[in-house]
């Protein structure tokens, strides 16, 4: 990359793409989000689960950032809220496996499993695994989105003689 190219103004970045891309992404993003939810919820029955579902959920948000720019994403999922969701996902996971100790099973034991008699291959047939999948999906969604967001909003520009890191927030 040449020096002049680096020196471009930071405001031209991440402002969104053309009208066609925006329209198509507007339709698709919701469905991708829904698909992510499906993958998460049926993680114990079909291939997928918390991590894969979380990645798809994050992809829907990343799609919005790429097509619409950062302005559209900030009311949806600002950085602070993403951090909160990530921490909440981790906390849900830990407290679920923690309560297992007090619910009669040992640590990480599936304490709901025995109390439900349900046919195999049904949605509620796996005890607390869907709950853990949801927690992981929340965490992965927020975490991956944050990784993308933080890496993409920072930009190194030349200011006078010194390089400076600019955050577009």
């Amino acid at each position: 990359m040449k020096r002049e190219e680096k020196n471009r103004a930071p405001t031209t970045e991440l402002n969104g793409m053309s009208e066609i891309v925006k329209t198509v992404c507007n339709w698709i993003a919701g469905f991708i989000f829904l698909f992510g939810c499906y993958i998460t919820a049926y993680g114990h029955l079909t291939p997928g689960g918390g991590f894969a579902g979380g990645v798809i959920l994050a992809a829907s948000f990343i799609l919005i950032v790429l097509s619409f720019g950062k302005d559209k994403i900030s009311p949806l999922l600002p950085r602070k809220r993403a951090e909160m969701i990530e921490a909440a996902g981790g906390l849900i996971f830990i407290f679920t496996v923690w309560t297992a100790i007090y619910a009669g099973a040992s640590f990480c034991g599936n304490f709901i499993f025995k109390k439900w008699s349900c046919a195999n291959f049904k949605l509620l047939s796996a005890g607390f695994i869907p709950l853990l999948n949801i927690a992981i999906a929340l965490k992965v969604m927020a975490g991956l989105f944050l990784v993308f967001f933080v890496l993409s909003i920072t930009r190194v520009i030349l200011e006078g003689e010194k390089l400076k890191m600019v955050k577009e927030e």
Binding site: F51, V147, T154, V156, L163
Partner: protein, 115 residues
């Protein structure tokens, strides 16, 4: 045969980490190394024409053990991919920060420390 391929991948990754001067190429070398090891792990559990490791009521346990693939390496590889993702993300973030401080991705120019 495929084992040789994944060892080649590992060696290519090590070459990238040790011999390349560019930080981004070092990161790519690490990713290749990681994938080589993941491939090796998944190959251990591989069985030709194997079935999915779900034990059904209608199936005998011995035929099940003889025909199904080993599920454990797959679980391990998933975990190791996630860890690799975290490490790579942290590496990229650090590389951007280093670029800001030094104005270069070249390791020969990043030499404020003696070590």
């Amino acid at each position: 045969m495929i084992y040789a391929l994944c060892f080649t991948l590992i060696l290519v990754g090590l070459y990238g980490i040790t011999c390349k001067k560019n930080l981004i190429k070092i990161i790519l070398g690490f990713i290749i190394l990681d994938y080589g090891i993941n491939l090796f792990l998944i190959l251990i559990g591989f069985r030709k024409d194997g079935i999915a490791p779900i034990l059904d009521k209608s199936m005998d346990i011995n035929t099940f053990a003889a025909t199904s693939v080993d599920p454990l390496p797959q679980a391990l590889v998933l975990t190791s991919i996630v860890i690799g993702l975290a490490v790579t993300a942290l590496m990229v973030a650090l590389a951007t920060r280093i670029y800001e401080r030094y104005g270069s991705f070249d390791v020969t120019k990043i030499n404020k420390l003696k070590g």
